[in-house]
Symmetry: C2
């Protein structure tokens, strides 16, 4: 049994608005967490300090000391050079260009720190904790305000030539479709994220369609969250049903594209939207996807929701810390990028 | 210098209508070729006999004997279990389900035979011969009547969980777009293959638009080939220009999707359409793709045409033969699929 003197891992989920940290024992059991707001607008130094504070608070909550931490893993929202634990750029963190986050935090905490892209890190966590590393090829898809993804190919995280692989959210599915934040049209996340659902609901309400959501949130649908969508779904709100099923179809088409390209054993869907609405959306996502997947890739494929929930980010980051630590202590470490 | 007694490799390009075989020296210099029609409608046995005949004729043309052949490689048009050299299914070869092509031909020729998917094999050839195995991540795209693809990821051919990865032609780019041969709508090959060009030209001609092509081929545009498209392009045929540029845009969007997903160093475009019309199409393909690729993946990316031409298939198959032979004679052979 783990004692208070046992070693532990720390996983940090660095987001645009909040930072989560979790302390995990050797078997990745969660011992304690902490949450602080990011305050990204105050600049890089502030965020670094807040990450450090969040880690220290999580350790306090878990009753562990820094010296017991074998390594800290961080999932960051952007392109990350995993070999150098450097954030190359992060659209939602102003000023973050080539920030050696790993190095700087390692100095502050005096512990090893390793950094990866957030969706990649979540996929690592899903592969390790939910799937016990069994599938050789697994695609992770995380749907919230955007759509992020991660690829486990040949048993390892695939990051591409410059650490920007798995940008699934910017896969174009509808030429001349709705405008995406990236500037293109018809990207998957412009069609199937919570942002897309919000846009469709607003458009429908503006043309006079009725929904219970306007009673709850007003005509602007201010602060629409996944939980309200779920409640409206459960009350059989017609507009919400129609728009969520349409969204599920788009999610299914994107899944089909990924499967036709990568022929994985497993596709896992997670993130806030799926967490709140998985039961409503999954059957339709799977049905639409399977209709569009070529027979040879469809047969032994599993398309399933993740059960890691809100903790996927910190669990994945702890897995990243452990993997990195293990790799540094074996001789057959294969470099991932040439 | 190679003598007549030196060993050689044979590469076979098995197509739905014709079989090509090439004999290559140790440095992959082409020594001789042969071509026979496939006669797929006559069944599996006939095709096997014709492949054997084609190999023997190519050896005769090259002035080599079977005993000098170190290994035979074959690219087959369908899903291929590369570990067992078995064709799992091949849409254009009636009756081909789980045919142990490698084993059967090895028995007939008394030489080792290895089989792969045709587009994968072409990609291997491009990676080895055109790129000297330098890019760790390379995407091959081959545009003809359909669109095939191959992925080199982490330096090796990526085949997926059941040997059906890289079905790039069935990536959906336009929800509710034109119907594809696979039954879905808006697949890449329904938008950007020669078949798609033909469909658009026919539709335009039916609505009364003028093109020099009808003068050459009649109103049905019977037997339209890439070379006629090139001639019409060179004569500044307005309709052909418009439709080819539209096709180039679709090709560029598909390239962007693949790059955003896989972040390769190199994307190579080949196949009959690109061979005939590369000069016309490539600038627009590259321009459209680069507009849609996320900055981090775009910076050091090369998008280029293949120069292997008609011989890509037999060169790739010879490379497959050599790779397989080399792998069988080293101890660190890593299995590609678990």
């Amino acid at each position: 049994m783990a004692t208070n003197n046992a070693t532990c891992w720390v996983g940090v989920d660095l987001g645009g608005t909040k930072i989560l940290a979790g302390v995990f024992d050797a078997r990745l059991k969660l011992l304690g967490t902490a949450k602080v707001s990011t305050r990204a607008e105050r600049g890089v130094e502030t965020v670094l300090e807040r990450i450090e504070r969040c880690v220290r608070e999580a350790l306090e909550a878990a009753g562990r000391k820094l010296l017991q931490v074998k390594a800290v893993g961080i999932g960051a929202p952007g392109a990350v050079d995993g070999d150098r634990s450097t954030v190359l750029f992060a659209p939602n963190l102003p000023g973050w260009r080539r920030i050696p986050l790993g190095q700087q935090l390692a100095k502050a905490l005096e512990r090893p720190v390793v950094v990866g892209n957030d969706a990649n890190v979540c996929t690592l966590g899903v592969h390790e904790v939910e799937w016990n590393r069994q599938p050789r090829h697994l695609v992770g898809i995380f749907v919230g305000t955007g759509i992020g993804g991660g690829l486990i190919l040949d048993g390892r995280l695939y990051e591409g030539a410059s650490f920007t692989a798995a940008e699934v959210g910017h896969m174009i599915l509808e030429v001349n479709g709705p405008k995406c934040g990236c500037g293109n049209r018809g990207c998957w996340e412009a069609l199937a994220s919570r942002t897309a659902i919000y846009r469709r609901l607003r458009e429908a309400v503006e043309t006079g369609e009725k929904t219970v959501l306007t009673e709850w949130l007003g005509p602007e649908l201010t602060d629409l969250r996944s939980n309200e969508l779920r409640k409206a779904w459960e009350q059989d709100d017609k507009l919400v049903h129609r728009i969520l099923l349409q969204t599920a179809d788009y999610l299914g088409l994107g899944v089909a594209n990924l499967v036709n390209l990568l022929n994985p054993e497993v596709v896992v869907l997670g993130g806030g939207l799926l967490q709140a609405l998985g039961e409503a959306l999954m059957p339709r996502i799977v049905e639409t996807a399977r209709q569009c997947i070529i027979p040879g890739s469809e047969r032994n494929l599993k398309i399933v929701p993740s059960r890691l929930g809100d903790e996927a980010g910190i669990i994945g980051a702890a897995v990243l810390a452990r993997l990195s630590h293990d790799n540094n202590h074996t001789t057959d470490r294969a470099p991932r990028n040439g």
